[in-house]
Subunit: 233 residues, 2 copies
Amino acid sequence: MVVMAFEDVRLPDVTGMSVGILGGTGPQGRGLGYRLARAGHRIVIGSRDADKAAATARELAAMPRVESASVEGADNRTACDTDIVIVAVPWTGHERLLTELTDALADRVVVDCVNPLGFDERGPYALTVPDGSAAQQAARLLPGSRVTAAFHHVSAVLLADPEVDLIATDVLVLGDDREATGIVQALATGVDGMRGVFGGRLRNAGQVEALTANLIAVNRRYKTHSGLRVTGV
Amino acid sequence: MVVMAFEDVRLPDVTGMSVGILGGTGPQGRGLGYRLARAGHRIVIGSRDADKAAATARELAAMPRVESASVEGADNRTACDTDIVIVAVPWTGHERLLTELTDALADRVVVDCVNPLGFDERGPYALTVPDGSAAQQAARLLPGSRVTAAFHHVSAVLLADPEVDLIATDVLVLGDDREATGIVQALATGVDGMRGVFGGRLRNAGQVEALTANLIAVNRRYKTHSGLRVTGV
């Protein structure tokens, strides 16, 4: 069933789809959890530590415009028992976690939003990733999953701020599985202010991840929380 | 003298600065030449073939909202005798051209806008560049120049269309020389609709160049000429 039209590209209906967030207690995962709960999804915050996940879930459930029943916490493996699984762990833990969860993530729509960045005295920079990108590493480790990449450039600060009603950014969604990228585009478009825009195949994910270093440079220069809009779409 | 304020970041006055465009007969160089001529700059279109450059210059000078005296054509070396030199040659000719012009480009503000991309049956993709990016290659080859990177994501089609009054895109300007990046930001901001936004150091140029592959993917999917806006700035 098609219920949304985004320009002339139709997106699937993701109403009622549940979302697991691996690393959901970190800033990015927590912020995405809040926004997607506000958008009406059932959210399972995942963490290595289920108690910590439950604490974050209780915090989110108490926030404005979230239905209290819609957020729960669990260990990362349990959080994979959802329709869409967002990977929001630090890059340093990415490979190990996905290797452990290959079976649990089979057949899932996986959304990798990990940015492999380094920081030194001159600021942020993109790390060299042997697979080309975190998302391509995920695709290699999860051959039975439907791997996409998205949500790289969202500001964790703005996502988690209940006073911010509109998240003024587009989300580039990458992947080689057109149905899966459509689902993730629809998921992003369901957040007030966001649009999910198809951004290419997974082999072009590296620069999207790395661009986060540039947006951090923007944030520092302009003392802001920057985002991106795609014009002409 | 400071005459423009862009949010709270002050940009220098670039009124009266001349702009040379190496590879100015190609689509991107030609489009930038038209827009910068409209913005009031004296433009020298450069080419390996001075006659070809002169022909392009005559075409641009005859276009709407360009003063006929403001565009001329020359060989690439002569085009370096300007205040700001834009490098808009194909990636395949980048290294050789800059090696030949190292002396002519000394002390110049150089703006590299080259995107090292490949194309195959699955579409565009980022090439691996040994220096990290075209801009970093330029910085290595031009140790006496003030190398910046900018104008990667502008649509040559929109730039060259006289019916398009506003170019609705921000230009990420990268570089390690703050005065030079300020000049290039001001140059971009002088084009109606554009803003020049500082986007980080040269070491973060690779992903900005490569992101052009994603915007080409956007163009194909949405049948558009896409651009980017930085939100929060």
